[in-house]
Symmetry: C2
Subunit: 353 residues, 2 copies
């Protein structure tokens, strides 16, 4: 696979983003959804900010308060034995080990704009900020599907009651309609196909299951993009391979002559995140035609290997022009990068089922 | 609360049910959905059967095979250290402790019919049997919602990829239409309201979450009963109370002057299952008006306390005639019982929010 990583990589780093409050610092500008709008490429960045702590014994956790419409800042002492601070992303309650109690940062969506796809200017203000009771811990990993002149922006909505997928829509990136939670918890990595297929909308989704099952990819259908059903299991983990630990949709699926091409992420149990591809039937995307035996991209560059959470390449969106796919991707849960790949080479690399 | 438990209780036991195969034994006839059809009360029993093992060192696990349309019988030795057999309901893989690998029984739906609601005759054949790839471990805990002359029957569909809620419909309990999985995994305890409310169908559901959140009740809306969205968190666990460990919908919600009354189950962390009630706004059932401080019924009778999984009362359906609710309920994951309660007394017992 020939991969052209941009010389400018990482194209956006936390240092490029002004925090939205003086008492916060930006620790991530990553996992961006991608849209083309009025001749520009828009990256809908997941910006993660945390309250600055001047005392190393104090960890602060930001929580959006729907009543006051302000953030509450929870302060916890690192020697508080009720909590486990070992994962830098979350604070766990020791008595409920598998779940988290707080996040250490608040994520929201902010736009970066570019005419050439290489050099971006970042908006001063958030584009979509937590505002709902199901978003009090933040909104993460947005994806964007354009259908006609409407952009559907959907993201993980995180709150103490669970992680689900919520959606807003806009025609101008100024006025937004909130559509509520379209996939209930535990769910993330939703990807809505950009057109109806045989009269139905389709979406990939990634339930996180507890009673049985693994973090794998499912597909659902809809009449109106808001209500989803006919859930089917689409693709599972593969023991001993690069996607043996978890997997989920990445970029919005795009059409090729051979089928719908989905660039998805897979990780091993030790959290090394790579990108691969799934080829889905043009007329029935619940059928997998072919799949990557090996990653189409793995963490290799320094900025992919090192960061807030290293060894991660994680795409939430791509721009496809002819045979070239410009895959924008988050690196190390920290920054954004871009790489160009050949659609034909990706198709040729797949193993047919 | 005055509770009239039927003298015939338990009204149906495993001994009343002929196994569907000679080499199987019935271990449960419980958690039945309830329908009124042609002057009879139908209990859509969850029948659980297990392959008879003549060797105490061998545990057999039945798995439906969609290719052969037969059951495969997996045999495991109880001294196989890869597995944990301590929970009689499931076989766990020791390396993946929180999830199960197999079930020890196969559940399907069978009908019991009665003219008086006390004395039931059980059909010889299964009514709904696993037939789909998402049902290979069985189908559990059916509920029935009648809308017009159509009966919607929905149940937990269990397979290695997860537990979700699937649905079939029928007008005559003979010919069924399969509608696929309406709530993706992890989900169970779905209850569809029997009419549209302000132009939308509503359903309660119970996600089982892993990353954060608890086993609590949510509500979703739909245009067509097949596709669901606008998920909202409805009611949560209450520390130190009878519903501190887990909760989920029970009987199909029914209308009273005060609001929609939902008889739900709550359990403590040590798995004592009681029934209580939620009162929901007539025009917007996502609003909780009132709730039981104390259970309306708790395991007390011998048949409720002892069985395959004791200390469980678990209703999946009720018949309401005027002020009397005949609550049919599973006992100890083993048998069926029925108790009559006063709607007015339930309403009077609730604590308003």
């Amino acid at each position: 696979m020939n991969i052209y990583r941009y010389e400018e990589n990482p194209i956006i780093t936390p240092a490029d983003v002004k925090p939205h409050r003086d008492d916060f610092e930006v620790i991530g500008a990553f996992n961006a959804g991608v849209a083309e709008y009025k001749g520009e490429i828009l990256l809908l960045l997941r910006v993660a900010e945390r309250p600055i702590s001047h005392d190393p014994m104090i960890v602060k956790a930001p929580v959006y308060n729907v009543e006051t419409k302000q953030l509450d800042i929870i302060e916890l002492r690192t020697d508080d034995e009720r909590y486990d601070f070992s994962d830098p992303r979350v604070i766990r309650n020791v008595s409920k080990s598998s779940t988290f109690e707080y996040l250490t940062s608040l994520s929201y969506i902010r736009v970066a704009r570019s005419k050439d796809g290489h050099n971006f200017t970042i908006d001063d203000e958030p584009l979509v900020y937590p505002s709902q009771s199901l978003e009090t811990f933040g909104i993460e990993d947005p994806r964007v599907t354009q259908i006609g002149d409407t952009y559907y922006i959907y993201f993980s909505a995180v709150s103490p009651v669970g992680v689900g997928e919520s959606m807003v829509s806009t025609k101008d990136f100024k006025i937004f309609t909130h559509h509520g939670m379209i996939f209930g918890p535990d769910n993330k990595d939703v990807l809505i196909f950009p057109e109806k297929i045989n009269g139905k909308y389709y979406a990939l989704h990634r339930p996180t299951t507890k009673s049985t099952g693994n973090p794998e990819m499912w597909i659902a259908e809809s009449d109106n993009l808001l209500y989803w059903g006919n859930h089917k299991h689409l693709a599972g983990l593969r023991e001993g391979m690069w996607d043996s630990g978890r997997m989920g949709g990445g970029a919005v699926p795009f059409k090729t002559e051979k089928g719908w091409l989905e660039l998805y992420h897979g990780a091993t149990l030790d959290h090394r995140y790579c990108m691969g591809a799934l080829l889905l039937d043009l007329n029935d995307p619940s059928k997998v035609i072919a799949r990557s035996e090996h990653p189409i991209m793995e963490p290799d560059a320094e900025y992919e290997k090192n960061g807030f959470f290293g060894d991660v390449v994680f795409s939430c969106g791509a721009v496809v022009h002819g045979n070239v796919v410009k895959m924008y991707y988050g690196v190390a849960d920290t920054s954004m990068a871009c790489a160009e790949l050949s659609v034909q080479e990706i198709l040729d690399s797949l193993k047919y089922e």
